[in-house]
């Protein structure tokens, strides 16, 4: 009756790659068990009859609305770039290691 997922080590490694997370072998084993338990617990949500129910995105909450798409003042670029671990502030570029050949 339950449609709950069982997570294998391969499943955990696949999800970790999607999230760019490096897991230790112990974490892979631990998370396989814990995700199986947690998603198994969450399976009761999948049993609820929701035919005709519209999915809630944000809580309906008073007068929250969109604004005109007009540029406004923003943070100073130099200040923001000074936060970067590596940047070329004069050129306005963040620096990263090589992208190709990984």
């Amino acid at each position: 009756m339950s449609m709950a997922e069982t997570f294998t080590r391969a499943d955990i490694e696949r999800i970790a790659r999607l999230a760019r997370l490096e897991l230790t072998p112990d974490e892979v084993t631990l998370f396989a068990g814990q995700l199986t338990a947690i998603l198994g617990y969450a399976d009761q949500v999948r049993q609820v009859d929701t035919s005709g129910v519209e999915a809630a995105a944000l809580p309906a909450s008073g007068s929250i609305g969109s604004r005109e798409d007009e540029p406004g003042p923003s943070l100073d670029r130099d200040v923001v770039m000074s936060q970067a671990p590596a940047a070329d502030r004069a050129a306005g570029l963040f620096k990263v290691p090589r992208v190709l050949g990984s």
């Binding site: 449609m3 760019r20 998370f31 617990y41 009761q44 944000l58 809580p59 929250i64 604004r67």
Partner: protein, 493 residues
Amino acid sequence: MSLPRNACEIRAAVAARDVSAVEVCREALDRITRLDPTLHAFLHVDEKGALERAAQLDRRPPAGRGGGAPGLDRAPLLGVPVALKDNICTAAMPTTAGSRVLEHYVPPYSATVVERLEHAGAVIIGKTNCDEFAMGSSTEHSAFGPSRNPWDTGRTPGGSSGGSAVAVAADMVPLALGSETGGSIRQPAALCGVLGLKPTYGRVSRYGLIAFASSLDQIGPFARSAKDMAALFGIIAGRDPRDATSAADAVPDYTKALTGDGDISGLRVGVPRELLQDGVEPGVRDAFDAALRELQGAGATLTDIRLPHASLAIPVYYLVANAEASSNLARYDGVRYGTRADASTLSDLYYRTRARLGAEVKRRIMIGTFVLSAGYYDAYYVKAQQVRALIRKDYEEAFARVDVVALPTSPTVAFKLGERTADPLKMYLSDVFTAAANLAGLPAISIPCGLTRETLPVGLQLTGRPFDEATLLRAADALERRFVTPRPDVDSL
């Protein structure tokens, strides 16, 4: 003379120049110096900045004279020390969110709530401990070590805003801000015996709050009295052009909304009794029942109600919140700010930098990534959002008959350090009575309602209609007149 302890008393005494803001600030810093080695409420104390700010307030021109901002004497938090959860950005102090990834990070701007506090004359004392990125219910997931409960230092204060709850409970500061995604203000407030309020979604600007789950997150206040909380809440509530999800609804005068005499005649309190069947500790149940009797004594009427889908709040919450978290936390990639690991390729940079995230954060990113992944999105995420809509509808129907919904804030008193860390699901169930208000976007408050036999505090939770925080504060005010609220004996620590 002894210094005033509560925010409104401090403000009045500083405004009248009976005490100086510097004296009040020094007292707060002294208590932190004495107590924090044991309690670990703070991750950063800005002693120099706070004293400078206090001295600056003390130099304000006499009332009625020109010069500075008109009427600093009337500033609603003049000279009041306030602590901030460390996921609220401060340009003058580090903001780590309890994470190694943001260790030593100083944001380039302050959150809107911080600017509003400063404008109101508050003195920001420091930043409080929390579970990493606010993910947890005990502060044990802080990368910098747990906080301890001032009622029993072998127990957690709850979380994730545990440091803010401890700072107020141990009287280091009269006021603090925390944040909530599923109970992170109310639950530690209950476990530490102070007031904690989760405002309506959209009531308080989140500009400068480090994002966890954007359809749930809200900033809210901790205080020891309803009057103090009303004063603080009135300052942080309201529309902010820098947060597109903040609401433009008018902000009432919360202080004027308090009862004055403890009379809440006409208040209709709904009690969803079937949710109380399992897992509520007897001591919590007794205190809850006593609180209901006190509400009646103050003039409220009790009505049994049903919230048929509320028992699904925890599984829905952990699907929705973690999905959003996995997206929000993708930004910690070591490129634009925060720490960066050594790596020879961009791909390695991502993996190695994110390896510094703690186990609980990784676990939640994993769950969220899975429920958003191809083939599972409809089955888990969309389904959870549909059940979320049903939970919200349950409350709408209840509010046709009652004004507030009452439950214990937490099914248990403060638990022991280490008791739940090995079993994530058990930790998640700490939020069993709180998560529904976040999913439905409703305001909810935790009000101290006495102690159990083992001298641990219990909180009564009241959930209200959207933007009706005033009614919650009224009820808190009425109850505080009927309960003698003892304070933890921190001076023996």
